[in-house]
Amino acid sequence: MDDFSYQKPSTLGDAVEAFSAADDGVYLAGGQTILPVMKLGLAAPEEVIDLNGIEELQAITASDSVISIGAMATHATVAASEDVKQPLPALASLAGIIGDPQVRNRGTIGGSIANNDPAADYPAALLALGATITTDKRQIAADDFFLEIFETALEDGEIITKVDFPVPDAAAYMKFANPASRFALVGVFVARTGNSVRVAVTGAGPCVFRVGDMEAALEKDFSAAALDGITVPTDDLNADIHASAEYRGHLIGVLAKRAVEVAKENGDGQ
């Protein structure tokens, strides 16, 4: 790849400043997406601003109702954290099946959601759990965050600092992986809090999306059977050599049901 000037600020403020002073800068989080892209010559930033030195971005804290995960927390850390596993095991296990063990030691939640790869796992969790993304400037609801393929509501230079997950009553994530890349061909995250249910699908479309019909059905009856006959229109679903739109549409139904079954089994998120 082409060379660049490398900086490693130790505060959030320094990072934001460095970015605005840059001609063509990128933030470096875990690097598991940006570095392969740069190696292939598909991106050639002039400045790389490493966020790994900003300690406040790594903390994970939990209260009874909210789990707060620092943007620079690695997938491995999230997967292993008791603060996540106890109240929200579905999130911990999702983190534990992103990529592979080495990728999980570097990849971060902030990097993942800022990138908004259609096949990433985290976006499904954020959308289904109704998470709130905090940046250096504001708070953004998950519903407003993921816009399009590789596009989010983040403004140029805006840095995610943490993601807050409300703790649901029941949740589960089912993933059907691409055998080569191990990305999600389809991933469905189901979460129920009280009478409210959210179903979020990743991998199947250009961007993570919720399935209103499934949510309505599950709110009436939180069971796999409630989803019988509910289909997702396939026109806008992804199609490639690994899976057709039709198959992805089918998998959404299957995985949603399985997620509901697991969520029910695990009950109170425990």
């Binding site: 059907f176 691409n178 055998p179 080569a180 890349s181 690994h242 198959y247 998998l251």
Partner: protein, 788 residues
């Protein structure tokens, strides 16, 4: 002193350096002053090259040399020949062999074909220079499917090769087969595909070349499996020099599987550049370019037909195949879909008559050359699939139909209608034993358990017949040093098989000497006068026998010296268990001591020179052997998603004499894993325009540890072949041969209640789901009708 014996699971000598990061692979080799190379490859599958302007690239900082395809030819470089043994087709036609230069000159015929070569001070400069070479391409229509390539309206790759046909080959008894089909109670027809895959050794290819002006010799370090054969082609055919002027060495090689056997275009370009620049030149392939330009394997579309009687007896087998070989004949290319796939048709079953027709066809795709099994996995797949399909269609039991038709041991030796001399083996025994290992008694319970968990259970057993190949001659050279070490140089080429262990094991066992004192050398044209390299599972069959023969010659030569030391006569001295004994007196002397004496003038008889025990021996295999065996697999299929999981795998192999069972296991496991990969997740896909869609590991599904099941492997050593002194039947490729049908038929067994009787590889979850949903609807004659 370390004693070893034949049949012992001796652990590997090469492990220590590999485990501690001290391996010496091609990218670890750096010569002083070396420059770095990069290859400009065609981005089009088919295009005229109207001109190349490399002036901007040449002017760049650090760029030392740019050679285009036309310049290459203008500098007098020759073409790389094909070495396929199949050169005659039906009706006495000759093979069509287009000229293969190292670079395309006026036409690029596959995406990835080299069109220019750059050498620069740094890799970065070389890579940047590639971007500055301006090639005036005129894209042409491309054809990637071999069946389509035969159609009259298909784009023609070569002006003088109509219908892109390289060769139209047949073997067997056409008349006899036709008659049998006419008279049979049933004729079952199935068109099927053996999908295109690629070897993906974890280490890509690369080479480092240098030229010594004083001696006018080149040195080439190359991640290759065939130093001698390729040296000749690079030196004599391309560079126009005597082969002795090229010293060709392979360092540690990180896997090959056939993909590093052929004569590739980059090494001669590296050598030529090294001479022009007066500096060493290093080239390491990228993984992306490896997908584009390394040889691919399999890629055959076939119609298979079985003639069978009402009582389930096989009467005849007919297979007609079309195989795409890429744009050129490459090194062995045309052989795989022709002779390579013909020989083991019919497997270990009794077929009174068989016929095979194979057409090798040029396509705008990467070259095809042998990939582990090179035609035998294809043949076994064809035979086993038609048998399984027939069983389903006629309502016969798949195990029974096989049992009924397996050749009994009494029928051997038997020359098959394909000309295979099947000398020995016990196919029914291996079949029953494999079945036993799989515990069919437990299947019902396992199926029930699977169903309760919402999955379908399937089982299949796949007997296979293999044959070996590769160069029939091999050299083993033994030298005894004064310090007690023994050097053993063999012309074979191990890329992980463990020759560094097993060749010395053989020598030590035969001579009764210390295994640890033997130093092994391979893959170096200076170390052995000839060498057959790698291929056709020849390592032990040809190389091992060369070592054993050398050992025998050493014993022969040592007897007079032993007699001298025993103060006896040669006629009274015998050798056994590592020592020479006087049959009269009972006195004995160890081989090790005789070897010592052979270097000591004080102990030698008058007139005998020291070092006389040093021996170089050339062994020639008279005829290839017939390894054989049986694979069995159980699977569970999730009908909702189509996901497949292999839950059990059993293998029984007849490799004749097994020299080192630990290493043999490794070969079987590795071969099975590659078969599983092809059956379930691997597939090379080109789009209609010839663009490679599966060009990286993100899309090409190499199996990981959670996909491959545990395998139980047993060996049958009751039928060592008499075709070579050691009784060895080459083991290296057999794993691939049995795995494809075992896996595919097991999945189809799981899907039988859904009416699914056929599926193409790879059996992706989506393809399984669709088949269930469509209740197995498919056209059994949908692939070959246009070309038959």
């Amino acid at each position: 002193m370390t004693d070893v014996s034949i049949g012992q699971a001796v652990k590997r000598a090469e492990d220590e350096r590999f485990l501690t990061g001290q391996g010496n692979y091609i990218d670890d080799i750096n010569l002083d002053g070396q420059a770095r190379a990069a290859v400009l490859r065609s981005p089009h599958a088919h295009a005229r090259i109207n001109g190349i302007d490399a002036s901007a690239a040449e002017a760049m900082d650090g760029v030392l040399l740019v050679i285009t395809g036309r310049q290459w030819v203008a500098e007098g470089m020759g073409t790389l020949p094909t070495k396929t043994s199949v050169r005659k087709g039906r009706n006495d036609t000759d093979i069509n062999e287009p000229p293969r230069h190292c670079m395309a000159n006026d036409t690029a015929r596959y995406i990835g074909e080299p069109v220019a070569f750059v050498v620069a001070e740094t890799q970065e400069a070389a890579n940047k220079a590639l971007e500055m070479i301006d090639v005036d391409y005129e894209p042409l229509d491309a054809v990637v499917d071999p069946v389509k390539a035969l159609a009259p309206e298909a784009p023609q790759l070569w002006n003088d090769i109509p219908n892109n046909l390289c060769i139209d080959f047949e073997l067997g008894d056409k008349e006899g087969t036709d008659k049998a089909f006419e008279e049979a109670d049933h004729v079952i027809t199935l068109d099927l595909i053996n999908n295109r895959v690629t070897a993906v050794p974890i280490e890509t290819r690369g080479c480092v070349g240098s030229y010594d002006a004083a001696t006018e010799t080149y040195t080439l370090y190359n991640s290759t499996q065939n130093v001698h054969a390729n040296r000749e082609m690079f030196a004599v055919n391309v560079l126009g020099i005597e082969k002795e002027k090229l010293h060709h060495i392979a360092p540690d090689v990180g896997g090959g599987f056939g993909a590093k056997n052929s004569a590739y275009p980059e090494p001669p370009m590296v050598l030529h550049a090294a001479k022009k620049l007066g500096r060493p030149v290093k080239w390491i392939n990228t993984r992306s370019d490896s997908f584009l330009g390394d040889t691919h394997g399999r890629g055959q579309t076939s119609r298979v037909q079985l003639a069978i009687n009402n009582d389930g007896t096989f009467l005849a087998l007919r297979t007609e195949t079309v195989g795409g070989i890429g744009a050129y004949c490459w090194t062995i290319g045309p052989f795989t879909p022709t002779g390579g796939s013909a020989r083991t048709q019919g497997g270990p079953y009794t077929f009174p008559t068989m016929y095979y027709r194979g057409r090798a066809v040029f396509t705008n795709t990467a070259p095809m050359d042998p990939y582990r099994g090179a035609g035998r996995p294809e043949a076994t797949f064809q035979t086993e699939r038609i048998i399984e399909y027939t069983a389903r269609k006629l309502g016969l039991d798949p195990v029974e139909i096989r049992r009924k038709n397996l050749m009994p041991p009494e029928a051997l030796p038997f020359k098959s209608p394909m000309g295979m001399e099947i000398d020995c083996g016990d196919f029914p025994l291996l079949f029953e034993r494999t079945l036993e290992m799989a515990e069919p008694g437990a299947f019902a319970a396992r199926a029930e358990k699977a169903i309760k968990a919402g999955r379908l259970f399937g089982f299949a057993i796949a007997p296979y017949l293999e044959c070996t190949g590769g160069a029939p001659k091999e050299y083993a050279g033994v030298q005894f040093k004064e310090d007690g070490t023994v050097t053993l140089a063999v012309g074979t080429s191990s890329t992980g098989m463990g020759h560094e262990t097993v060749m010395p094991q053989l020598l030590a066992a035969r001579l009764g000497i210390d295994y640890e004192r033997i130093q092994f050398t391979q893959a170096d044209t200076d170390a052995t006068p000839i060498g057959g390299g790698h291929g056709g599972s020849r390592g032990m069959e040809v190389g091992g026998n060369a070592v054993a023969q050398a050992a025998d010659e050493i014993v022969e030569k040592a007897i007079p010296l032993a007699a001298h030391l025993l103060q006896s006569e040669a006629t009274k001295v015998t050798f056994g268990d590592g020592s020479f004994s006087d049959t009269a007196s009972g006195a004995s002397v160890a081989m090790a001591e005789v070897i010592e004496a052979s270097m000591d003038p004080d102990r030698l008889p008058d007139g005998q020179e020291p070092g006389a025990l040093d021996t170089g021996s050339t062994f020639e295999r008279g005829i290839i052997s017939i390894p054989n065996g049986c694979h069995a697999a159980t699977v569970e299929v999730d009908p909702e998603t189509g996901a497949i999981q292999l839950t059990g795998y059993w293998v029984m192999d007849d490799f004749g004499t097994v020299i080192n069972p630990l290493l043999a296991d490794g070969q079987v496991m590795g071969g099975v894993a590659q078969g599983i990969g092809q059956a379930l997740t691997e597939n090379i896909i080109y789009d209609e325009s010839g663009q490679l869609i599966t060009g990286s590991l993100m899309d090409y599904g190499l199996p990981r540890a959670d996909v491959i099941p545990n395998m139980e492997i047993e060996y049958y050593e009751g039928a060592p072949t008499k075709k070579n002194p050691l009784g060895v039947k080459g083991a290296g490729e057999a794993g691939c041969v049995g795995a494809l049908p075992a896996v595919v038929n097991a999945v189809l067994d799981a899907l039988k209640d859904h009416g699914v009787v056929h599926l193409e590889m790879p059996l992706t979850p989506e393809s399984v789901w669709r088949a269930i949903r469509d209740k197995g609807a498919f056209d059994p004659e949908g692939l070959m009708s246009d070309v038959l």
